[in-house]
Amino acid sequence: MADDNIICRCEEVTETEILQAIKDGAVAFDEIKRLTRAGMGHCQGSTCSILVDNLLRSANPGITLHKHTPRPPLQPVKLEAFVKSASGSQGEANE
């Protein structure tokens, strides 16, 4: 749809797709994420989770929303950084 709104910029998920997921019965951001990939891209839902929650609220007045399951890292981090961050801590001793 040409005039559709993009909700998740990272994965290019549109408002229509989110609304369809809600119509199909989705009740939580984490479920919509699984259904549409909204929130699965580079920023991990920092922007779109709020928009998705708003769409869920307007479709289901009075809904109690499930808490999101936040996953680390807060922003993309190079793989080798995870090794370095554990240097000198127990991570080394466990080898």
Binding site: G25, A26, V27, A28, D30, E31, R34, L35, M40, G41, H42, Q44, H66, T69, R71, P72, P73, P76, V77, K78, L79, E80, F82, V83, S85, A86, S89, Q90, G91, N94, E95
Partner: protein, 362 residues
């Protein structure tokens, strides 16, 4: 007629429960599926979606092959894009002679069933997976056609779509609290919101199964085994096979990290994995760094890949392999649990087998 009366109630909308509900719905229009949260909220939504048989033995291997054959038909049957690619190869690599022995065993298991699997030299392993470095002693590889990946969410959506078309129903936020029995027979399920009635109940609640079975005096022998996976952004690297370290085949697999690499159709690389004795869903930083270290040791080229997400899920592991069937001594009660890391691979088989067992048809 009571609107809460069904032919079958399936508890748990992970991939197993959804497959069971789908195959039951082909025989009955009164199937109810309930989940305490929403579909794929647990382990099915926190896994790598791998389809494999290589590495399994005996009955479990037969079940896996049967299930992967079913996946080949399911895309058409469910009229859903499952994000499936069954052309992938599974490659185990080893660096000790003892592991070489284990590789030989799993390859022989496949060969005795005329499955296309073979032992290969360390050099051949490097050819099949050019990013790999280190002293590789041997490998085992099984070809495409059956193995690869499926998108578990899409598979679940497909099962649910057809279940609904067949007259079945899914209710979210409905937590089963108790299996209702009278005179050794099941008559329903009590939930946080009320009661649902059916002469047959199938419990598919993963590692949480004891909550429903224990009060009935049953022991599931489930060991919850947490796994952690690191996900990269869409990568320029192109993995030619799903790579697994032969350490996975060793029996003492607790609190250990073994390398598993897999690339999704979108290009993200999943780097795993661990087997942790924990029920916590939070990420353990020590485990994360062990996985990173293990991955970089074997595949140094990964060092510049950006990790965008780290997730963990809890495998419902059972020593004797999965239980799929009727619960002896209780009329109308059936269950499917203990699939460990094989839930996605085994879901179609589990659903079809249980539906046949319960309906006597199909």
């Amino acid at each position: 007629m009571n609107k809460h009366q069904y032919d079958y109630i399936v508890v748990g909308a992970g991939i197993i429960g959804c497959a069971v509900a789908y195959y039951l719905s082909k025989q009955s229009s009164k199937v109810l599926l309930i989940d305490k949260l929403f579909p794929a909220a647990g382990a099915s939504g926190a896994c790598n979606g791998g389809l494999s048989y290589l590495g399994k033995k005996g009955e479990l291997l037969d079940q896996a092959v049967e299930s992967l054959l079913l996946y080949k038909e399911l895309e058409k049957e469910l009229e859903t894009d499952l994000g499936k690619d069954q052309k992938g190869q599974i490659l185990f690599f080893s660096d000790t002679p003892e592991q070489g022995q284990l590789l030989e065993e799993i390859v022989n298991e496949c060969k005795s069933r005329t499955l296309d699997a073979k032992l290969i030299s360390g050099t051949k392993v490097m050819e099949s997976f050019p990013y790999l470095t280190g002293s590789i002693s041997a490998g085992a590889i099984a070809g495409g056609g059956l193995q690869g990946v499926v998108n578990p969410f899409k598979a679940i959506c497909g099962f649910l779509k057809k279940t609904k078309q067949n007259g079945g129903m899914l209710i979210r936020n409905e937590e089963a609290k108790e299996i209702l029995l009278q005179g050794g027979m099941v008559y329903g399920v009590r939930t946080n919101n009320g009661e649902f009635r059916a002469p047959a109940v199938v419990v598919c609640t993963g590692y949480e199964i004891d909550r429903l079975l224990k009060p009935l005096g049953l022991a599931s022998e489930i060991i919850a085994t947490k796994g952690t996976v690191l996900v990269t952004g869409k990568s320029k690297m192109k993995l030619k096979a799903n790579l697994l370290y032969a350490g996975f085949l060793e029996n003492n697999c607790h609190s250990k990290v073994n390398l598993a690499l897999e690339q999704t159709l979108d290009g993200n690389i999943l780097i795993g994995s661990s087997a942790e004795n924990s029920l916590g869903k939070e990420i353990d930083n020590q485990i994360t760094s062990q996985i990173a270290k293990t991955a970089l040791k074997s595949v140094p080229k990964l060092k510049n890949e950006h990790i965008i997400r780290i997730f963990s899920g809890i495998r419902p592991t059972r020593k004797g392999g999965p239980f799929i069937g009727k619960i002896p001594g209780i009329n109308g009660l059936a269950a499917a649990f203990g699939h460990g890391g094989m839930g996605i691979s085994l879901a179609p088989y589990t659903g079809k087998y249980l539906a046949q067992l319960l309906t006597g048809r199909g």
